[in-house]
């Protein structure tokens, strides 16, 4: 990975990785990318995970409202939608694991451009992800299982020429 690699183009790889992850880990075959908004909803939750290469790092993430996070976590755990809500730590743990699986699929998609990416450990967040002077956030809105979520790609701002 380098500043010239155009990380923003990797959002498509993340979308493909999510489609595969949703099918393989959640049993969802109806994933659709619906939009590429500039910002996420203000109070979403989710998990992100860093991928570090020799010359830089990116983060990928998955975010949604609490109800959808519960739904995704239950699906991953093989629970029924009507089952009692998971305790917050268990829901966070499941979301982190889902993003871990997503990151593994994403890493496979970009292997030809970034062979030496090292995966970090996933982190749960509650709130919004903001761009900074040095980092930009690319977002893909997705629908799966009748619910909306967002895929996040946080990357060095220099990489998109900004």
């Amino acid at each position: 990975m380098s500043a010239a690699s155009g990380c923003v183009g990797w959002l498509g790889d993340l979308e493909t990785a999510f489609t595969e992850t949703a099918q393989g880990a959640l049993g969802l075959d109806d994933v659709q990318v619906t939009d590429h908004p500039d910002a996420l909803a203000a109070r979403w939750q989710g998990a992100y995970l860093g991928l570090v290469g020799p010359t830089g790092a990116i983060q990928i993430g998955l975010a949604a409202d609490e109800e959808t996070c519960q739904s995704l976590a239950k699906r991953l755990l093989g629970m029924d939608p009507g089952d009692e809500a998971l305790p917050a730590p268990d829901m966070a743990d499941a979301l982190c694991e889902l993003v871990n699986i997503l990151a593994g699929a994403f890493k496979g998609k970009v292997r030809d451009r970034a062979a030496s990416l090292q995966m970090g450990l996933p982190v749960f967040f509650d709130g919004c992800v903001q761009p900074t002077e040095r980092t930009a956030v690319a977002i893909a809105s997705v629908r799966a299982g009748g619910r909306s979520a967002g895929l996040l790609l946080v990357y060095p701002r220099a990489a998109d020429g900004a």
Binding site: T21, A73, L77, N100, A103, G104
Partner: protein, 120 residues
């Protein structure tokens, strides 16, 4: 027969145990560890028939666990269950003594395929 499941995610430990049972191994008992260091301590005390380990974990990773075991002369069977599918990491795993590397997400059938030869 005892299988140790090593993963920092409680959710994933639960998913792995369910998949092993669904693969037809109803009679196995499980012990759990949250990272390689916990697993190493437990394996020294009571070696299981098989260790199923994640790769990326805090404190001690799965590959560090495997290397530590082999460095002590411990030949317990260990397979990786991980979201990593990098060929370089796969090579490293097998060179270090892993018996298989199963990529997440997995199915009970995938577990049946790798566990069959190991637990026969």
């Amino acid at each position: 027969m005892q299988i140790m499941v090593v993963d920092d995610s409680k959710a994933m430990r639960s998913i792995v145990m369910r998949a092993v049972r669904q693969a037809g191994y109803d009679a196995v008992t499980f012990v759990e560890a949250g990272n390689g260091a916990e697993a190493l301590k437990a394996i020294r005390a009571t070696p299981p028939a098989l260790v199923l380990a994640d790769w990326n974990m805090p404190e001690m990773s799965g590959i560090e666990l495997l290397k530590a075991l082999r460095a002590e002369g411990n030949e317990v069977k260990l397979g990786f269950v991980t979201s990593e599918s990098d060929p370089v990491m796969r090579d490293l795993a097998f060179q270090s003594g892993a018996i298989f590397m199963l990529t997440k997400p997995f199915t009970p059938d995938a577990f049946r395929a790798v566990l069959g030869p190991v637990l026969a």
